[in-house]
Symmetry: C2
Subunit: 161 residues, 2 copies
C-alpha cells in the first residue's frame, strides 16, 4: 500500500464515520466538537452536514483553509489537555458528537496521546452521544460500535456513551 | 459537496489515473517525472507502483514526509518554469509518464499556470508517453484520453503524445 492508498482510506473512513454519526445523533440537542482543525476539511464536512447544532473547534494553532475557518466564538484555542477540562465546566456532559483527528505521522506518539486524552473526552458526551476518532481511544464506559459501510477497519473508530 | 468530498474525489482520481497511466506506459523505456512533490503521497504511490523506470521529482522547496523524500540525484530543485527547459536539454523527448499536481487553492491562478507550463511539458514526452494532471492542460498536439474507471470527471486529466 502506498501512502496515497493509506491516506485515501483514512479520508474515506472519516467521512463514512462522520456521516453515520451525524445521522445517529441528529435528535440530540447538544453541540458537536471538532478536535484538531488542521486544514479544516473534516470541519467543513461537519458544517455542511450538521444542522441545528453548534460546532466548536479545538485547535492549538489555526492554519486552516480560509473556506473552513470557524468564527472566533466557536474556536477553542489551546492545547486540548487544558481546554477539554475547561469545556467540561462550561458545557457539562452535553456533546452530541465529538470528532477527533489529533494525530501526526508518529503512530506511537498518537497512541500515547490517545491514552492521555481519552479520559478528558469521555465525560463531555451526552448519553447517546457518539465519538469518532482516527486513533483507537481508551474509554472506561463507552461502547465501540461496528464501522459503517465504506469505512476501513483500523482507519477510524466509533464509540457511543 | 464539502471540501472533504472534493478532496477525496481528487485523491481517488489521481490514483485511478496514475494506475492507468503506469500500466499503459510500462513498456516505454524512459523516466517518469513527478512535478510538485508536496507531502509526497503521489510520489510514494509512483515509487511503489512503477518498476524499471527512474522517477525524477521537480519541486521548489522540499517539505515532504520523510517516508517519501526522493534521493538528491532524483530531485530537480527550482521553479519548473526554469527546470523543465533544462530537463529537455538533458533528457530530450524521452519521458514515459509525467504527473503534475502543481495547483494551490486559487483555481484561476492554477488555470493560468497550466497555460504557461503546458508548452514546457509537451516536448518532454516520448511518443506514446502519458501526462496525468489535476488541472486541465493546454497542449498543442497531445490527445486527451477518456478517464479510467473510478476517476471523477474534472478532478484529473490524461493526455497522450
Ligand atoms: C491531522 S490534523 C487535522 C486534520 C483535519 N481533520 C482535516 O480534515 O483537515 C491535526 C490537528 O490537530 C491539532 N492538534 C494536535 N494536538 C493538539 C493538541 N494537543 N491540542 C490542540 N490541537 C492539537 C494540530 O495542530 C493539527 O492541526
Ligand atoms: Ni440536529
Ligand atoms: Ni516499466
Amino acid at each position: 500500500m502506498s501512502r496515497l492508498d493509506v491516506f485515501i482510506d483514512r479520508m474515506v473512513s472519516q467521512r463514512a464515520c462522520l456521516d453515520f454519526a451525524i445521522a445517529e445523533t441528529a435528535a440530540l440537542p447538544g453541540p458537536a466538537f471538532e478536535l484538531g482543525l488542521g486544514n479544516g476539511r473534516t470541519y467543513h464536512h461537519m458544517r455542511e452536514n450538521i444542522t441545528g447544532h453548534d460546532i466548536y473547534v479545538f485547535e492549538r494553532a489555526i492554519a486552516s483553509n480560509p473556506a473552513s475557518t470557524p468564527d472566533e466564538a466557536f474556536t477553542i484555542l489551546g492545547d486540548v489537555m487544558e481546554t477539554l477540562p475547561q469545556t467540561l465546566e462550561r458545557f457539562g456532559a452535553t456533546a452530541s458528537l465529538i470528532h477527533a483527528d489529533l494525530g501526526g505521522h508518529n503512530l506511537k506518539k498518537n497512541d500515547l496521546f490517545a491514552r492521555k486524552v481519552s479520559p478528558l473526552i469521555e465525560p463531555l458526551l451526552a448519553k447517546g452521544g457518539l465519538m469518532v476518532s482516527s486513533d483507537r481511544m481508551y474509554f472506561d464506559a463507552l461502547e465501540e460500535l461496528p464501522l459503517p459501510e465504506g469505512a476501513v477497519p483500523g482507519r477510524c473508530f466509533i464509540y457511543r456513551k
